[in-house]
Amino acid sequence: MFPQLFDTRPMRRSVDEALNWVVRNWGGELEAAAFPLLMLLSSIERLLIAIPWWAVIGILVGLAWLATRTWKLPLIVFVSLMFLGVMELWRDAMVTTALMLTATLTAIVISIPVGVWMSRSTRVRQIVTPVLDLMQTMPSFVYLIPTVMIFGPGKIPALLATIVYASPPLMRLTDLGLRNVDPAVMEASRAFGDTPTQRLFGVQIPLALPTILAGVNQTTMMALAMVVIASMIGAGGLGYQVLQGIGRLEVSRGLFAGLGIVVLAIVFDRITQAYGKRLQARFGLSEVR
């Protein structure tokens, strides 16, 4: 046995008490602060449910066609989405998609500026990188419990947990993309007397865009990976079906809802990847297939 060097109980107790204090004194304020996120999520959700199913399929198939200009990917997207409809998973799939889209949008808004900051300062990068490691490796239940204590079970803690888990790859890849911009191009821009803002938006971000888009792709995938855990605290959607399937030992329900998540992942993964490839081809970094 490892010897007890000192009594850690006061330390633990103070952490618990601090959380309780926050819940008691700041719960309302924090809930109000998270309200815009909830609004965003529920309006996306309402919108996706309000749009007729054939229109949703039409839009996604159209996006797939625009990204590839071949019929292979649109066909995959069409079959995948039809599967969701036929298996009576449409509404749940839309709820899950709304959660994923909200988390991804929020992650983009937060992560790209942080990534830009990381790319500009080695010190910021040294501080942020371990935090990102922590966000990705810390079991999500550890921060789910405090968020549930503060916000109560429901969509906000689910959304926050998804954002925490899904944003690190986008921050990392934004940082990487910006650092890897061809120094010769940066120097040329500098020689013409650019301002840092002109360089960022005119050179760095456009040239890093394929890498940043790969980060967005990773973020959507991570967000989908969180849906089952998110549904445990009231996110609903496909994850909830999986949970129910497990709870009732109804293997078919869990299996098909699980496949539904896979199908959504395939659809969004392939579409975002195709756009990344298209962008790279535009720069001449790789050939168009």
Binding site: D182, A184, V185, E187, A188, S189, R190, A191, F192, G193, D194, T195, Q198, G202, V203, P206, L207, L209, R282, F283, G284, L285
Partner: protein, 349 residues
């Protein structure tokens, strides 16, 4: 008149030293005490990029800085628009000391007074050729219609009409460098910096670009600071040449001065392999006393290689100044003597 009291100088570098490393000032102090660069590097780990460089570039000149890789020539040219900050020394461009400029002044200076062409082109891959050429003007804040019009004009001048909508990666190396040249020319600055601008190109294309540059220079009359590792290129385009080795200037002079009187062994090595017929102007070796009429005249800036083929038909040719007045004449024998005399491998008597 500039702060140093010189008129007609576009660029003046005075004692410019650049030391790379974490604490350049202490390394500089060691050098001032008379330690050599190798000693400084061994003791402190600092690399000396430029060693007390002093250069004068007159307005309207093509001034070539020639040196092998690692000689510090790319470092040197980046000091002129302060892409690199010197450790010590003064760099005066058009009367203003670049080293004393605030960031804001420096930005204005780069936008309006100086333009640069790069060895690796430095084009924006996501923009069309037209937008690439307009980039410098965009930075300067010129309105869209005006900058696109100017860009189209310079694309035409460098011979890329029809490629406006194409992206850089779809062009060959030579074409990409024309885009880089057009982008710099579109800035319409007095001074043009060219960092090994033609070194990445095939020999034939390089030669074409050199001709084009000389032609452009005769109509635009800019000050061009040109960096190269190719001595032939330096001789072909340079009005004056500075030879750089290990960050220090070895010799500065007109092309034929360097060919005829190399200052040291290092320069002699370059001169040995050089095409002297290209380097030597006929006016430096012509006979100025004998002005008998002749069937054919060449301009005074003709080089030996230009008159050599004429001797198949003529015993001698006249040399005329800019007004067309004969100022001398030259025979095949004189040319042959001149070419032979300066070959160190060939015994003279």
């Amino acid at each position: 008149m500039d702060v140093l009291g010189n008129t007609d100088l576009a660029i003046a570098m005075r004692g410019v030293t650049k030391i790379f490393g974490p604490d350049p000032q202490s390394a500089l102090a060691l050098m001032r005490k008379g330690k050599s660069k190798d000693e400084v590097q061994a003791e402190t780990g600092h690399v000396v990029g430029l060693d007390d460089v002093t250069l004068d570039v007159e307005k309207g000149q093509i001034f070539v800085v020639m040196g092998l890789s690692g000689s510090g020539k790319s470092t040197l040219i980046r000091h002129v628009n302060r892409l690199i900050d010197p450790t010590s020394g003064e760099i005066v461009v058009d009367g203003a000391d670049v080293t004393q400029m605030s960031l804001d002044q420096l930005r204005t200076f780069r936008r309006t007074q100086i333009a640069m062409v790069f060895q690796k082109f430095g084009l924006l891959p996501h923009r069309s050729v037209l937008d690439n050429v307009a980039y410098g003007l965009e930075i300067r804040g010129i309105k869209k219609a005006e900058r696109l019009e100017k860009a189209a004009h310079w694309i035409h001048v460098v011979g890329l009409s029809g490629y406006e909508k194409v992206r850089p990666r779809q062009l060959s190396g030579g074409q990409q460098q024309r885009v880089g040249l057009a982008r710099a020319l579109a800035m319409d600055t007095e001074i043009l910096l060219m960092d090994e601008a033609f070194s990445a190109l095939d020999p034939l294309i390089r030669s074409g670009m050199q001709d084009q540059l000389i032609e452009l220079q005769s109509s635009l009359n800019k000050t061009i600071l040109f960096i190269t590792h190719d001595f032939d290129e330096a001789l072909k385009i340079g009005n004056r040449i500075a030879v750089l080795k290990d960050g220090a200037v070895q010799q500065v002079g007109k092309p034929e001065e360097i060919v005829l009187h190399p200052a040291n062994e290092h320069i002699e090595e370059f001169v040995r392999d050089v095409n002297k017929a290209r380097a030597i102007h006929v006016r430096t070796i012509m006979d100025r006393t004998n002005l008998e009429p002749c069937e054919l005249m060449v301009p005074e800036d003709a080089r030996c290689e230009d008159v050599l083929p004429l001797f198949a038909e003529h015993k001698w040719v006249g040399v005329a100044n800019a007004e067309g007045k004969q100022i001398g004449q030259i025979t095949a024998k004189q040319v042959i003597t001149a070419l032979a005399r300066y070959s160190p491998d060939v015994p003279t008597q």
